[in-house]
Amino acid sequence: MKKVELLAPAGDLEKLKIAYLYGADACFVGGKEFSLRARASNFSISDLKQGANYAKKLGKKLYVTTNIIPHHENYDGLITYLKDLESANIDGIIVASPLIAKTAKEHTNLEVHISTQQSILNSYHLKYYENLKASRAVLGRELTVEQIANIKAKTNLEIEVFIHGGMCSSFSGRCTLSNTFTLRDANRGGCAHSCRWNYSIYDGDEKISTETPFSMGSKDLQSLREIPKLIDANVDSLKIEGRMKSLHYIATIVRTYRKLIDEYLKNGKVENFEIYENEISKAESRITNTGFLNINNIKDIQLYDKGNQKPSQVFVGLVLGKSENYAVVEQRNYFEIGDKLELFSPKDEIKTFTLKEMYDEDFKPITIARHPQQKLYLKIPYEVSEYDMLRKTDE
């Protein structure tokens, strides 16, 4: 069976390392210029150099988003910036504009991937980007697995598909709600997510919506059960959305998809999807659905008043290493002696234990870990490694 790339988001260098360690084959990050997701903590050129070096050592790839739809005022500095990206030794850029694609091809050897902002939904559209010498296209999110397979069969471009995370309710790149309501340019990194606001519906002067407000906001995408079909469709890259998501979210989501993909590639089937669904639910902060990938679930795709849900488990600590018989842990959320914790790591099975011993940085015994990023020593009855994580479970 053909290997498929698992592509993960990263908002900073720490998340980038975690994404690779927990199983991503490639990561995508935002740079300081020409990138959507203005509020993500985007990477400087120096950060990108570090990230790219780290990726190369692991035999993995790093892509940078340059996916705004530029106005003339955005021309300035583009060539220099693209050359800087090339010198940072990244593998490719994700673009939404022919201007940026052409400039990259003319002045650099960077791979060019076409962003989902172009809402590519048919095989004819891809011819345009073949002409622009792009190597990959990220398809629009309004396609079923069958439609994706049909497109993939008709192109030489690599095909990338979103498998997890937040979704635009509008065709991506075609929405100006944010521009109109807030003057924040949705196609230049300023989307105000106006589609998720609450609205009333009127017919003439008569209000026809109820106390349940109308919203265009979408449930998040979760496609565990569609992964085998996407692999069978010869999709080249499976993309997780969420450059602004937490370390724990990235680790949990990437690890879960990694394990599922590996099981399918090894055995040609997935024995029990529920194990993966249960695991992924520990990090989800919004209700999920398979989006358009599975036509049978489309009726239940909208969020409405269901709002957010809390992840079932809380990320409490990041393992920094070992010191004699203790795990050195950086505190990330409140926890205390007696808590039932899960230790999870990129490769090993998840292990559960009750916390009985904990010490502060001066090795004084403590019962509560309440200070963010406090360095702690924990007695954990299992082997630990750097970048393992601890989370508190209610079970």
């Binding site: 048919n122 309501f181 009127y202 909208q302």
Partner: protein, 290 residues
């Protein structure tokens, strides 16, 4: 400088073409967000009148293109291959490659939000597209710069309610199902959305292609006509209005704007006007710190 308009009733074809250089029409089953969706027979009739009057006629295909639509489109263009029409306005560049295979020429590209700069505009012309609409959310300065450096015909949404949201999702249908309410909402043009912090009411339509939300106010370029002389085509889109409205607006564009005419129209149609994004720059946010 040519003026195109949409049409509500094909009985008005002649009177509209007395004022306009051409018409933009939708075809039943293939078009969305149009003032009329013509059957093949109706299109033939409009085509014959337009040809006789030596005017222009464009078919508008605003739905995003799916491979599933290809067979239907092939059949359609085979059926109308001997009819007179000037060109096809398409929302998705995939249509250009498909229609080129079918021998249909004079494709005009209207992705609505994507052609925001000269290079992106001309890139579509470079592949053989004859003209394109500039993005609706760009400033007058950007439009002028594109027009000065154009390689093909420049089209602009000159007057009408601009669409600001287009989803494949059946959002109204999903909502009414969610609240267990039976309501006749499909293809209805009287529905609006209201957001509690804003007083405006935004027209919303759901049809077979998805959900469409519009700006509340009519956007018009009428006050900037003297700066837009390099634009080749001005489209008057009369969605939510009627053919009389189209004639009044066309006359105003051709004969000259006065505040009195604006007030008369606004009062008659109970509407407000703005200049769209012509005189407002949207915010480029990438320098924002988190």
């Amino acid at each position: 400088m040519k003026y195109l308009t949409t049409i509500h009733n094909i009985e008005n074809t002649e009177i509209l073409l007395n004022e306009a250089s051409g018409l933009v029409v939708g075809l039943k089953g293939f078009s969305t967000r149009e003032t009329s969706l013509l059957t093949i027979a109706e299109f033939k009739k409009v085509s014959e009148i337009t040809n006789k009057m030596n005017k222009e006629l464009y078919i508008s295909l605003k739905p995003m293109l799916y491979n599933d639509y290809v067979d239907g489109l092939k059949t359609l263009f085979e059926m109308i291959k001997d009819f007179y029409y000037t060109g096809v306005i398409v929302s998705d560049i995939g249509y250009y490659y498909l229609l080129s295979e079918l021998g249909v020429n004079n494709i005009i590209y209207n992705p609505e939000t994507l052609l925001t700069n000269t290079v992106d505009f001309n890139s579509s012309i470079d592949i053989g597209i004859k003209g394109a609409f500039v993005a609706k959310e760009i400033h007058l300065d950007d439009i002028i710069q594109i027009a000065k450096n154009k390689k093909g015909k420049v089209f602009i949404n000159a007057h009408g309610h601009l669409n600001m949201f287009y989803s494949h999702r059946k959002l109204l249908g999903s909502y009414f199902e969610h609240i267990n309410k039976v309501y006749d909402y499909e293809n209805k043009t009287t529905l609006t959305l209201e957001e509690k912090r804003r007083k405006g009411k935004y027209p919303v339509i759901e049809d077979k292609f998805g959900t469409h939300v519009y700006r509340e106010k009519v956007s018009t370029v009428i006050k900037y006509l003297n700066k837009l002389k390099m634009i080749d085509y001005f489209l008057i889109d009369t969605i939510f209005k009627d053919d009389i409205y189209a004639i009044m607006i066309l006359k105003m564009f051709k004969e000259g704007y006065t505040l009195k005419k604006e007030e008369e129209l606004k009062n008659k149609y109970k509407e407000q006007w703005d200049n769209g994004f012509l005189d407002i720059k949207t915010i480029y946010k990438t320098n924002e710190k988190s």
